[in-house]
C-alpha cells in the first residue's frame, strides 16, 4: 500500500526512536497528549511505547467521537430506533456503545429495533429513498472529518425532496475540545504538548490550532496516523519543548495545509451551525463544541421531528476518565479498571472504543502492568 507501508518501516522507526532517546533531556519528563483516537490506535497497535524513553509518556486524549458521545445521547438514539416507524442508520462503531442499563443499539436491534449499519452517510439517504414508508434517521457522529459527508447527505435528501430522512446530529468540534481540556486545567495536570489531529486537520487546516497553542503556551504538531508519523511528531514536539517553543507545526504535510479543505468547510457551514454548548462524555459541557442543523434544514433534523428526552446521564461514580484524560491519572489508577469496567461493559468514556485511554490500555497494553 503506497503512502502507507513506507510510514511503517521498522528500520527507520528504530533510528527515529534513537534520535528521540538522544534528544530528550534526562532531567525532565515529556507528557504528550495525542488528541486523536487514530494516534492512540497507532501507538497501541504498533507498540510505540516500547520505542520511547521512559520519560516520554503518551497521554491518550478524548479523540474518539464514539467515546465522547454522552450516555444520554445513546439513550436518545436507542429510543429513536425503538420507534416502530423508524429505521436508524449509523456507523458500525456506534452500535455497541452502551447507554443506560447496558443497552446498546446492537442489543436494541437484537430486541427488534430496526438498526442498520452503514459505512457511508449516503447509504442512509439511499435507504430512505428505497423505503418511503419508513422514517430513516441517520445517527451522525464524528469530528470535522465525518461532518462534510453528513452535510452532503442532507443536501442530497433536500434535493430529492425526501420527507422521511432526518439526521440525529452529534458532530463535534476538535479545537473546542482541546481548549476545554486546557482550560479545565486542574492541580496535577501536566501536559507538555499535543500530537494534533491528522484527518480532522485535513479538513480544518493546521491554523485552527494556533489560538490554543498561543493562549496556553503548548506546542502542537499535526501528525499523520502511521506509526512513523507519530514518532516523527514526537521528535518534533520534544524539540519544541526543549527549545521552549509553543508553535503549531505540521508533520502531515502530504495531506494537511494551513487552511484545510475550503470546499468541505463551506459545505458544513451551509448546513450546520454551532450549538451554544454540547456535552462531551468525560469532559462535561464545552461551549460551542457541537453542531446542529440550521433552521433552513430543520425538516431534516431528527431532534425537531421526534421527541428527544435529552437527559444527561452521569458515568459511574467511580470513573476516573476526567482525570485520566487530563493526564493526572493512568487507567490502572482507577479502581473499576478491568473488573467492573471492561471493553464489554464500559463504565466510562475511556473504555468505550479501542481508542479510549482505558480500552487501549486494556486491549493492547495490560501486559505492561505485570
Amino acid at each position: 500500500m503506497k503512502y502507507v507501508d513506507e510510514f511503517r518501516d521498522p528500520v527507520l522507526a528504530r533510528n527515529v526512536a534513537a534520535a528521540i532517546a538522544r534528544e530528550v533531556r534526562p532531567d525532565r519528563s515529556y507528557h504528550l497528549m495525542e488528541f486523536c483516537g487514530g494516534h492512540t490506535h497507532a501507538i497501541s497497535r504498533y507498540g510505540i511505547p516500547d520505542l520511547l524513553p521512559d520519560n516520554v509518556r503518551m497521554i491518550h486524549g478524548p479523540g474518539c467521537p464514539v467515546c465522547v458521545l454522552p450516555v444520554g445521547r445513546i439513550d436518545d438514539a436507542i429510543a429513536l430506533a425503538r420507534r416502530p416507524e423508524v429505521t436508524l442508520c449509523t456507523y458500525g462503531d456506534v452500535m455497541r456503545v452502551p447507554g443506560s442499563g447496558r443497552l446498546s443499539l446492537l442489543k436494541a436491534k437484537a430486541q427488534g429495533a430496526d438498526v442498520r449499519m452503514v459505512v457511508s452517510a449516503d447509504a442512509a439517504v439511499r435507504i430512505a429513498a428505497e423505503n418511503p414508508d419508513r422514517q430513516v434517521v441517520f445517527l451522525a457522529i464524528g469530528f470535522e472529518t465525518t461532518t462534510p459527508p453528513t452535510a452532503l447527505a442532507v443536501r442530497a435528501a433536500a434535493a430529492q425532496g425526501l420527507g422521511n430522512f432526518t439526521v440525529f446530529c452529534n458532530h463535534v468540534l476538535t479545537p473546542s475540545a482541546i481548549q476545554g481540556i486546557l482550560s479545565g486545567a486542574e492541580e496535577g495536570l501536566s501536559l507538555d504538548g499535543f500530537v494534533g489531529p491528522a484527518h480532522v486537520s485535513v479538513v480544518i487546516g493546521s491554523e485552527a490550532y494556533a489560538p490554543a497553542a498561543a493562549e496556553h503556551g503548548k506546542p502542537v504538531v499535526i501528525s499523520g496516523f502511521e506509526p512513523l508519523d507519530v514518532l516523527q511528531s514526537i521528535l518534533m514536539l520534544v524539540r519544541q519543548i526543549n527549545e521552549g517553543r509553543a508553535e503549531v507545526e505540521n508533520q502531515f504535510t502530504r495531506a494537511v495545509t494551513a487552511d484545510g479543505n475550503r470546499k468541505a468547510q463551506a459545505m458544513v457551514a451551509e448546513i450546520f451551525e454551532t450549538r451554544p454548548s454540547f456535552e462531551w462524555r468525560g469532559l462535561g459541557s464545552i461551549p460551542h463544541s457541537g453542531l446542529m442543523l440550521r433552521e433552513a434544514y430543520a425538516a431534516f433534523d431528527a431532534e425537531r421531528r421526534f421527541p428527544i428526552a435529552g437527559a444527561s446521564v452521569p458515568d459511574h461514580k467511580g470513573c476516573d476518565c476526567g482525570t485520566i484524560l487530563r493526564g493526572v491519572k493512568r487507567p490502572v489508577d482507577c479502581k473499576l479498571f478491568a473488573t467492573v469496567c471492561t471493553p464489554e461493559n464500559p463504565m466510562g468514556s475511556c473504555m468505550v472504543s479501542a481508542e479510549g485511554a482505558c480500552a487501549a490500555h486494556y486491549t493492547y497494553g495490560r501486559f505492561r502492568d505485570a
Binding site: 533510528n15 485535513v202 470546499k263
Partner: protein, 76 residues
C-alpha cells in the same frame, strides 16, 4: 479516530464519483468534497468520501526528513 486511507484513483465515474484502489482492493468513493482529481492521483478516503488529494511531493519530503534523522542516528 477518523479512519482514512490513501487510495489511488483508477477511474472517474459519473455523479462525481471515482473507483479507487488500495493494495489490490477496489472500492468507490465520492469526489464531491475535492476538486480537480485525476486518474493516478492519490486521495485520502474517509467514510466513502475523498477528503483531499495526497501531495506526493510532500510525502517524499517527509520521508526524506525521516531518512535524514535515521541516517544521522545510524552514523551516530
Amino acid at each position: 479516530m477518523c479512519l482514512a486511507v490513501p487510495a489511488l484513483v483508477t477511474a472517474l465515474l459519473p455523479d462525481d464519483r471515482a473507483t479507487v484502489s488500495l493494495g489490490g482492493v477496489t472500492s468507490t468513493c465520492s469526489l464531491e468534497l475535492v476538486e480537480d482529481v485525476a486518474v493516478g492521483d492519490y486521495v485520502i478516503v474517509h467514510v466513502g468520501y475523498a477528503l483531499s488529494r495526497l501531495d506526493a511531493g510532500e510525502a517524499e519530503r517527509t520521508l526524506a526528513l525521516l531518512a535524514e534523522v535515521a541516517d544521522a542516528e545510524a552514523a551516530a
